[in-house]
Amino acid sequence: MDLYQQNIMDYYKHPRKQGLPTGATHRGDMANPLCGDKIDLHLVMSGGTVTKAGWEGEGCVLSLAAADMLAEYLQGKSETEAGAVDQSWVKKSLGVSPSPSRLKCALLALEALQKALAKN
């Protein structure tokens, strides 16, 4: 298993959804003090649909690639679909199954999403 396989590196080096959208209705931020990773995930929700999603943050390849994949996926999804994203979606999208210590990195953006949805 290669954490640095092509699709992950592609999202890391060429993020699609980096940058926070204006007029966000849902905001979630998560940090891992153990390694200093930080992800801010903002959504613009209109009529129960995510019309825009974007993120800002710093971290390792896994945490940032996973954040970008998540934000890309969320755009156009209903609130229910957004709320249904789980660990297995993250692993499937990355195409790798990180070791327990690295899984935390991959799940940071998902936790930010859960926080964003819970707050509203």
Binding site: Y4, K13, P33, C35, G36, C60, V61, L62, R102
Partner: protein, 406 residues
């Protein structure tokens, strides 16, 4: 064949027969185990295991003799005045918790405890808790940009209110070897009790508690090639005799009624319950293994390895070393950041080429904050590591830069 540091020593460690290509550079966290340690523990369990002390049957006597023999081995390892000054604990953290909580009982509000900015959480958080409970004031010796202690205000920091100096002998992040020879006499001169955290130092430097002149010293078994689950708190007998017990139960008592109990003298007073018996025997074998190699050979070898590693590491493009860049008074523990590459990615990419390092804050969050970093990658070397291991690290770092630095 005589044991000597370097690649031939890998033969004494079964893990390297199991993983032939393993470049193990996480020795600051825990060391691999030589076969003599494994055999000593295995032999005890197979031939003469029983609970220690008080058993009047033969194998309990045999187990007790081995357990107490290990205490003597440890006493020789640190040149303690007597084996009774050696208390077996769970690890260095447990030993430092006993030190902080017990010493604090004798202190009063406003008394100062002097630490350093290099401390591992194990020699920081117990003092923070003690300070809360007893209204003590924590003071810190700062560190320089190079990661050495800044002693410019030491004469103000060590003053008549200083009741404890608790200090690491070697930093687990920067590798800095602290100037105990200067600091301990200053602290003793104002009547302070001196606690030394030797968890990191114990695999790199000879420790002579009598020459150091400290009062308490802690280290872990697993960082000196012994098993996990055992540590040591050494204390001057006069001090140990004056400290109350920390935990209560079997073995630590003299006489018990339903209403009250009197306590055994040290070391039993501080060893409530069944101790880590096989672990003590393993630790005894480990410290004898170190002494068989010899401190002269170890220090010479590690100094050469440190020099070589520093030369190679400072030449890596984009590498910022957190710690002294010169080999004097420094252990082969190297924490660094690589520009453009997150420490987790450095560690994962190195893992991909068989090099085991650690990424994170290494239980020293405030020290990382001091250097403006949430995390670093740490490569820590010991007696079985070689210049080839340094080369493997450096070529892995080049790969990481090539893959990720934009």
């Amino acid at each position: 064949m005589a044991l000597q540091p370097g690649s031939s020593l890998k033969e004494a460690f079964p893990v390297f027969a199991h993983h032939r290509e393993l470049v193990f550079l996480d020795n600051a966290a825990s060391c691999q185990k030589p076969v003599v340690v494994l055999e000593a523990m295995d032999k005890l369990y197979r031939t003469s295991y029983a609970n220690v002390h008080r058993g009047v049957y033969q194998i309990s006597e045999a187990a007790t003799a081995q357990f107490e023999g290990a205490r003597q081995d440890v006493a020789r390892f640190i040149n303690a005045a007597s084996a009774e000054e050696v208390i077996f604990t769970r690890n260095a953290t447990a030993a430092l918790n006993v030190a902080a909580a017990s010493l604090a009982l004798g202190l009063k509000a406003g008394d100062e405890v002097l630490l350093t900015h290099l401390e591992h959480h194990a020699n920081l958080v117990p003092w923070q808790e003690a300070a809360k409970r007893h209204q003590l004031v924590l003071k810190f010796i700062p560190v320089t940009e190079e990661g050495r202690l800044d002693l410019s205000s030491i004469d103000e920091l060590i003053n008549s209110r200083t009741k404890v100096l608790a200090i690491t002998a070697t930093s687990n992040v920067t590798g800095t070897v602290t100037e105990l020879d200067k600091l301990i006499p200053k602290a003793k001169a104002v009547g302070a009790t001196v606690v030394v955290d030797a968890a990191q130092a114990a695999q790199h430097l000879p420790l002579d508690v009598q020459a150091l002149g400290c009062d308490l010293l802690a280290f872990s078994g697993h960082k000196v090639f012994g098993p996990s689950g055992i540590g040591v708190l050494w204390g001057r007998m006069e001090l140990l005799s004056s400290l109350p017990p920390f935990e209560f139960g079997g073995n630590m008592i003299q006489e018990v009624s339903y209403e009250s109990a009197s306590f055994a003298p040290p070391p039993a007073r501080f060893e409530a319950g069944t101790p880590p018996i096989a672990e003590a025997v393993g630790l005894g074998a480990a410290v004898k293994f170190i002494q068989q190699i010899g401190w002269g050979a170890i220090c010479d070898y590690e100094e050469g390895l440190t020099r070589y590693a520093l030369e190679k590491l400072v030449a890596v493009p984009g590498l910022r070393l957190i710690g002294p860049s010169t080999p004097e008074a420094r252990a082969p523990v190297f924490s660094f950041v690589l520009e453009g590459v997150h420490p987790h990615d450095v560690a994962s990419i190195l893992d991909g080429v068989g090099v085991a390092v650690r990424a994170g804050h290494h239980c020293a969050m405030p020290l990382h904050k001091r250097f403006g970093l949430p995390a670093t990658t740490r490569a820590s070397f010991t007696i079985y590591n070689t210049e080839e291991d340094v080369n493997a690290l450096v070529s892995g770092l080049a790969k990481a830069r090539q893959m990720l630095a934009l």
